[in-house]
Symmetry: C2
Subunit: 275 residues, 2 copies
């Protein structure tokens, strides 16, 4: 059995989400043992429990010698509040593990990558089962935990790569969680932001990413309707700010807040990488 | 007569806003001559005309030897797209001028302050006449242009001070527009952002402001209702991140997207400063 320990470093999921993901895994991936930490269902204000509870659950999962992987249940907001303490508290048992999530959990992927702890992976989370076609997203993650890399973003090109939510990356910049991304392909995706806000984030991010190998634009979904059209599309925005910052714009990627969200292992991808 | 040249580096106003502000100035400040540049009413997509038009209008206003001050008509989004070119194109006639605005126009105030061009001032803009009690905001600005500092934020304490919209400051960080704020009191205000987003912005900003004299929290207005309470208030958030970053939290300021928005001259305030 491959054991996957699941916690919620940002916001909580409900027990029926855990039950649905567990049922899918039981019927199609019998060699996987999904272990939802009780903290996944805690709630305090915006968060899945107070900072101290979210931190202790994450450390339990990551330091557990019987777990091969840590899976983040959901984004939302809040993993940045515990990420510095988390990487400090991770021991030898965390070092070989896969850590999978995206969106707000990019704060943790960044901190892990910066500290070279485990294998941070940008990929689907349990909550994705609620999306249209969400079972496919969950299967992609469960395949990855089963050492099947079929769900990997096919455009990875041999250069070290990372993927982030654009707002997450924008607010990571200059903080103690930010990894050195020189030489990397940086994939960014966004959800539920106006195009003018995406333009503003690209202004900030592109100016701070000099030295990267290039930027790819993931999916830009659920853009709210504005009182007037912005005047250009998300890809025009990416191209514009890449050009101003002399960063190669490398095209699209199938990464984002969507059931089609492909898997991006941070750093260098290896075919048939073991979870 | 003191001539104030008005342009819109971000988004446009309508002619009736200009007419109302002009009427108020004519009846109460006869020594002021408000000159709304035609570009204030231009529109292209999100912006008050294309980048080139907004830039040329700003340069005309700022380089005009007959104008004592440049007043930004409205924020919105977009002054960051022309700010680098603007400071490059400013000549000797711009150096003595007051430049007043806030919100998105903080990008320009920042760039001007960084390059030590003119006197950047965080204060009301013509569009504010549309707020509840907006005439008071306009009067405060017109007094300032008339060398009457009555509208100045009373908490300025002799240390160099700046004021910014929090999102504007967050996206300024690390860009070529960002001034050195070491030793400064930094006032931040926010509008129409969820508390979780304000928490995320403070995480980013506080980590990048080491060396400032302290942070003051301006007004936090129009916070959208979330699906659940965040669990703490804006001032708790400011205190929390200041403490984590070892930055003194200095209390509140009456600065923000509100008719009560007080005036903050960048740098060292001087009583009865001349416009």
């Amino acid at each position: 059995m491959t054991r996957v320990a699941i916690c919620a470093p940002a916001t909580p999921i409900t027990r029926d989400v855990a039950a649905e993901v567990t049922a899918l895994a039981a019927s199609e991936f019998p060699a996987l043992d999904l272990d939802f930490h009780e903290q996944c269902f805690a709630q305090e204000g915006h968060f899945a429990g107070p900072d101290a509870l979210r931190l202790s659950a994450l450390l339990e999962c990551a330091n557990d010698p019987s777990a091969e992987a840590v899976w983040f249940a959901k984004g939302g907001y809040g993993s940045n509040r515990i990420a510095s303490e988390a990487v400090t508290g991770l021991g030898a048992n965390a070092r070989g593990k896969t850590f999978m999530g995206y969106s707000d959990c990019g704060f943790l992927l960044a901190a892990l990558y910066r500290e070279r702890i485990g294998r941070p992976v940008h990929g689907p989370m349990p909550l994705d089962i609620r999306r249209d076609g969400g079972s496919e997203a969950i299967r992609r993650a469960l395949q990855w935990f089963s050492s099947d890399a079929a769900g990997q973003e096919p455009r990875l090109d041999g250069r070290p790569t990372v993927a982030f939510n654009l707002m997450t990356l924008a607010t990571l910049i200059g903080t103690p969680l930010m990894p050195d991304l020189r030489g990397h392909v940086v994939i960014v995706e966004e959800v539920a932001e106006h195009l003018y806000a995406i333009d503003r984030l690209f202004f900030h991010v592109a100016a701070n990413l000099t030295g990267v190998a290039g930027i790819r634009l993931g999916m830009v979904t659920a853009v709210p309707e504005n009182d007037r059209p912005f005047g250009s599309e998300a890809e025009d925005i990416a191209r514009y700010w890449c050009e101003r910052a002399s960063i190669p714009y490398l095209g699209r990627a199938e990464v984002g807040h969507h059931a089609a969200n492909r898997i991006v292992p941070f750093g260098l991808a290896a075919p048939a990488r073991r979870a």
